[in-house]
């Protein structure tokens, strides 16, 4: 597989370590009420999608960026890849 790194261009998937579902970006607040339930869901409940899936890939043998990759699990087609950091910041409104 080739992953289109937003900074480095297409890179072989062997350079990356798969970190899992992009749901991991939405870590609950550990001090909020109901945190135990929220963390249980965060950690253990996953949609096993046939189709478009957002996931995290760590460029461990490269520039160490973690990418948010959109992949079709039925065809392995990669529909996009952005820096996970940018994705989180833009969601929280801190992005530029």
């Amino acid at each position: 597989m080739l992953i289109p790194h937003p900074l480095l261009g297409p890179r072989d998937a062997q350079e990356f370590t798969y970190l899992g579902d992009a749901k991991l970006l939405d870590r609950p607040d550990g001090m909020a009420p109901g945190a135990a339930e929220a963390f249980f869901e965060y950690l253990y409940l996953r949609d096993n999608r046939a189709g478009v899936h957002e996931e995290l890939w760590f460029h461990e043998q490269g520039d160490r960026a973690i990418l948010l990759v959109t992949r079709d699990t039925t065809t392995h087609e990669i529909l996009g890849a952005v820096l996970a950091r940018d994705a989180v910041l833009s969601r929280t409104g801190d992005g530029t």
Binding site: M1, R27, A84, R85
Partner: protein, 977 residues
């Protein structure tokens, strides 16, 4: 039968080879199969189940029968196809699956009890009693049914791997592939042309046609010259593209040295990963046979193969040959063989209107209904309008039409589509993106059709890439449409083989039908049809057609099978690509490695690192002598150990402290500049992940340490936290594990020794107390970091210097500390020291333990959110009653073993009685007995109790006293001294 005229072999040179110990000769250009045929050898193997005598069926990589063991000793390779084994001088081949000899095989008896081996027989018969399957039935069946033998020795050959990139990958260098490569390469695009054969030309090499006015070989020579001159084109001969993978990546094996006389020189095979923007699959076609009674005798082969042996290799298995065909192509073989002087006994054509292509007898509307000849064909029985007659012949060519080699196109679940016009499956939709079939692989099998198909495919692909490619000039070529009939098998009562490699007959298919194993996937598994190493290249479609006839449905209604990689078998050695043994992964050496080696230290693997285990001295005969001395010397004087391998992560930024506060479960907000704190990291699920220290060198500068084995995972975890969880924090990370050499200096004289190397810095207890850190210089200006931390329970420091000075610093400390008893120690003493002190390490942090179990439950702060804190409070984790305890042997000589299970004293050794386990154990030179650390049910409240450690694997049972895990200095006075 001697050699025919012509052929693409170099008769000026002779190659000598052996088969089953007998010496033969051949010529460069020969394969093992062609050379054997030219030497009159038809019998080449025994079949898988029935041990039937078998010869060669094909002239290519689809071969199911002529499988041999190649080479000898550790280089012996079973199940090698004689048809694609390039002959070299000294080649040594043995037949397989026979005993005692190929001509007399004792297990040939299987053939007479063949009903025992019908489809599904194993499943139905060997069911009872269940336990017999593994011990009795399966080994016996495996002995009887088989292929070649493994050498059972390590593979002595070298393999390599490499990466290639191109705009266009052309797979197959026949008529279509060559023209496609040429059309594309002329535009300047990067092209790779790969072919499994050692010679370019594909099927053209086996035909007698002319291209333009010249023989095909002349045209090939011209194209090859041009292709070789193009710098943007790479020709890869002897290269099998075996699989299509995601995003235009193809796996290929190049047989670099298999044909070379001395395979011990250089690389044997190379695994290539080819990334191609577009691919043209010009993989040709494979001929089908027509099953009839006893159709598997040596000498019966595919008609196209017979033609190939005659035209390309000037070989023919017999002087008198018959052809059985349902199409015009069979007549070409007859005509080509006749032209080479081979006598044609007749062409048996299933079609009533069959016409000869030359001067030979034709039997129209006839079929072959039997054959004779125990170890090789003597005659065939033919049936025409109900009358049978015998035709004497030493070889029979069978032609049942051609199947496109569409395997690669179905690798991504691309479904082949049936063409009633061509009576074949063609590549369909849904295959690998960017892959375009051309030539015979797309059902365009005439030479003219293949040439223009290749050119058009290249033009289309390049247009897709935005390049206009000119149509090349194509030579006049044979372009006659092949007429054929849908004739699939000759019905009869005797066995007629469909799949030669797995010994599956028409009867087996009928049985599968009768037992309702009708869907293709069931048929395959019930009969094992198409499931041998040839993946049914010569049998699948025929079997499908037979099943269609039995069910009264059409072939597309009956289904199709798709293929998976590899196209042909790939050796595990080349998939490893040389990453075996010491080359399996990079080896990391510590900065003191050479120094330790010079002192005779043995090394041990710790993750990817090699670390010194201990430093033996003259007179020490047992490793424990050295380890006990190192431990005692450290506790009495000063010991020095290389601890570089512990992970180090530099954390910098305005929010560095906030960042580590969220990572560690214990509080870090109050860590002052110049101080170090012990920290425990949890996984998000609440299990303990790793422990280490965090030193604050400056307001915005921290150094985090990790255990050796978790250095990688912890760094990954920290990057995830930084980039994915808290990207708003101002913090940067970098691993500095390899940048700094770090030496532990431990023992009551540690300070005195270090005072001799630091540059005018006060390191007294007041200036540099326990758990402090500072940057300084040593040895006259070398920058360094000093951490006053202890893993041994002694007064101890860790001194870090740039990695390249590590060896020199070790040498300096040992020399300067001679009068203080300075002693280098290795990982064994390091481990003893920490067990005696009760420090958790990798054995305790094994991914199954919690802060609570480690006795650190109260460290998990509930005043803040940190990774794992919330889920660590789950009842199942925080209420775990197994806690870390010390264990001390009751008898001085008793052995304490890590992994042993803990039981109440006198309890029966049963799983239900289990109360915990020993995680670390050693002999304590300090106490003079065996000790251990372990997790014990309700451990904290059982101090002083005597329990039993059971090690049933080694028949051991040891009585132990439960004590505090701090065997030495439980109040921690020494570390603060």
């Amino acid at each position: 039968m001697s050699r025919l005229d012509g052929g693409l072999i170099d008769r000026s040179r002779t190659l000598s080879f052996t088969f089953d110990g007998r010496r033969y000769v051949g010529h460069p250009g020969d394969t093992l199969a062609s050379a054997l045929l030219a030497n009159g050898v038809r019998l080449m193997g025994r079949s898988f189940k029935y041990h039937r005598p078998r010869g060669v069926l094909t002239a290519g990589s689809e071969e199911p029968s002529a499988l041999v063991e190649l080479r000898s000793g550790a280089r012996r390779e079973p199940n090698t196809k004689a048809t694609v084994t390039e002959l070299y001088d000294g080649l040594d081949a043995m037949s397989q699956n026979r005993w005692p000899s190929l001509k007399f095989d004792a297990l040939g008896v299987n053939d007479f009890v063949s009903p025992l081996f019908a489809a599904g027989f194993y499943y139905k018969t060997f069911m009872w009693p269940k336990a017999f399957w593994e011990k009795l039935y399966e080994p016996a069946i495996r002995r009887a049914a088989g292929l070649g033998r493994l050498s059972m020795e390590p593979d002595p050959d070298s393999y390599d791997k490499g990466f290639l990139h191109c705009d266009l990958l052309v797979i197959g260098a026949g008529a279509a592939g060559l023209v496609a490569a040429l059309t594309a390469a002329r535009t300047g695009k990067r092209v790779i042309l790969a072919d499994e054969d050692f010679r370019l030309g594909g099927r053209l090499l086996s035909e007698s046609h002319t291209l333009g006015d010249a023989p095909a070989t002349d045209w090939l020579a011209g194209r090859e010259a041009e292709l070789s001159s193009l710098p943007n084109l790479r020709i890869m001969r002897r290269t099998t593209v075996f699989g299509a993978y995601d995003h235009g990546i193809y796996g290929a094996v190049e047989r670099v040295g298999d044909h070379a006389p001395d395979a011990s020189n250089g690389v044997r095979q190379t695994l290539w990963r080819i990334t191609a923007r577009r691919t043209i699959m010009a993989t040709g076609a494979t001929e089908r046979h027509i099953p009839f009674a006893n159709n598997d005798r040596p000498g019966i082969m595919l008609a196209g193969a017979l033609r190939a042996y005659a035209n390309r290799w000037a070989a023919c298995p017999a002087g008198r040959v018959a052809i059985f065909t349902n199409n015009d192509d069979g007549h070409r073989t007859a005509s080509d063989l006749a032209a080479k002087g081979v006598e044609i006994a007749g062409v048996i054509d299933t079609r009533a209107d069959a016409q000869p292509l030359g001067d030979y007898p034709v039997f129209p509307g006839a079929v072959v209904t039997g054959s004779k000849g125990r170890l090789g064909l003597n005659s065939v029985e033919i049936t025409q309008e109900g009358r049978t007659q015998t035709l004497t012949c030493g070889a029979l060519g069978v032609s049942g039409g051609w199947n496109p080699n569409l395997q690669l196109a179905s690798h991504h679940r691309g479904r082949p589509v049936w063409s009633e016009e061509k009576l074949a499956f063609l590549p369909g939709e849904g295959g690998p993106r960017g892959l375009v079939p051309a030539g015979a692989a797309n059902g365009e099998g005439s030479t003219g059709g293949a040439l223009s198909s290749g050119a058009r495919a290249a033009q289309a692909v390049l247009a897709d890439l935005g390049v206009d490619a000119a149509m090349p000039e194509l030579p006049e070529a044979e372009d006659t449409p092949i007429k054929q009939s849908a004739f699939w098998y000759v019905p009869g009562t005797a066995r007629a083989w469909v799949d030669f490699q797995n010994d599956v007959t028409v009867k087996d298919i009928a049985l599968a039908h009768q037992e309702n194993m009708r869907p293709v996937e069931h048929l395959k598994r019930w009969t094992t049809l198409g499931m041998a190493t040839d993946q049914g290249k010569t049998s699948n479609v025929t079997a499908l057609a037979i099943m269609a006839e039995l069910t009264g449905r059409s072939i597309p209604e009956t289904g199709t099978t798709i293929f998976r990689p590899p196209y042909t078998p790939v050796s595990l050695g080349v998939l490893g690509g040389g990453d075996t043994g010491a080359e399996f992964r990079p080896l990391r050496l510590t900065p003191t490695h050479e120094w330790a080696k010079a002192r005779g230290a043995p090394f041990t693997e710790v993750g990817p690192w090699m670390r010194a285990q201990y430093f033996p001295r003259p007179g020490e005969t047992h490793w424990r002598d050295s380890v006990d001395r190192e431990v005692l010397a450290t506790r009495a004087g000063v010991g020095i150990c290389d601890v570089t391998t512990l992970g180090k992560v530099d954390v910098q930024g305005a929010d560095a402290l906030e960042f580590v506060n969220r990572l560690y479960c214990n509080g870090f907000k109050t860590l002052k500049v110049g101080m170090v704190r012990y920290g425990l990291m949890l996984r998000e699920d609440g299990i303990a992940m790793d422990d280490g220290t965090c030193a604050r060198l400056a307001e915005d500068h921290l150094v985090v340490t990790t255990t050796t084995s978790q250095a990688g995972p912890v760094y990954r975890h920290m990057e995830f936290a930084r980039q994915c969880l808290w990207p708003d924090l101002d913090v940067q990370l970098i691993s500095t594990t390899d940048a700094w050499a770090q030496l532990s200096v431990a023992g009551p004289h540690a300070r005195r020794l270090l005072e001799r190397v630091v540059d005018g810095v006060d390191i007294s207890n007041d200036a540099c107390p326990f758990m402090s850190c500072r940057e300084l210089t040593v040895c006259g200006g070398l920058r360094a970091r000093l951490f006053r931390i202890s893993f041994s329970g002694e007064l101890a420091y860790e001194l870090a210097v740039p990695a390249r000075y590590g060896g020199a610093l070790m040498d300096r400390l040992v020399t300067l500390g001679e009068d203080l008893g300075a002693t280098p120690y290795g990982t064994e003493a390091l481990s003893v020291l920490r067990i005696e002190k009760g420090h958790a390490a990798g054995n305790e942090l094994n991914g199954q333990t919690t802060a609570q179990m480690l006795g650190m439950g109260r460290m998990v702060s509930n005043k803040k959110d940190s990774i794992g804190a919330v889920l660590s409070r789950r009842e199942g984790l925080c209420a775990d009653r197994r806690t870390l305890v010390g264990l001390q042997a009751m008898d001085a000589g008793a052995k304490v073993t890590a992994g042993a299970h803990l039981l109440s004293d006198g309890a029966e050794e049963r799983t239900e009685m289990d109360e915990g386990w020993i995680s670390s154990a050693c002999h304590s030179p300090h106490l003079g007995v065996g000790i251990g650390l372990g997790f014990l049910e309700d451990g904290a409240r059982r101090m002083g109790e005597v329990i039993t450690a059971a090690n049933p694997l080694e028949g051991q049972s040891t009585r132990l006293r439960v004590v505090s895990p701090h065997f030495i200095d439980p109040d921690g006075g020494r570390v603060r001294d």
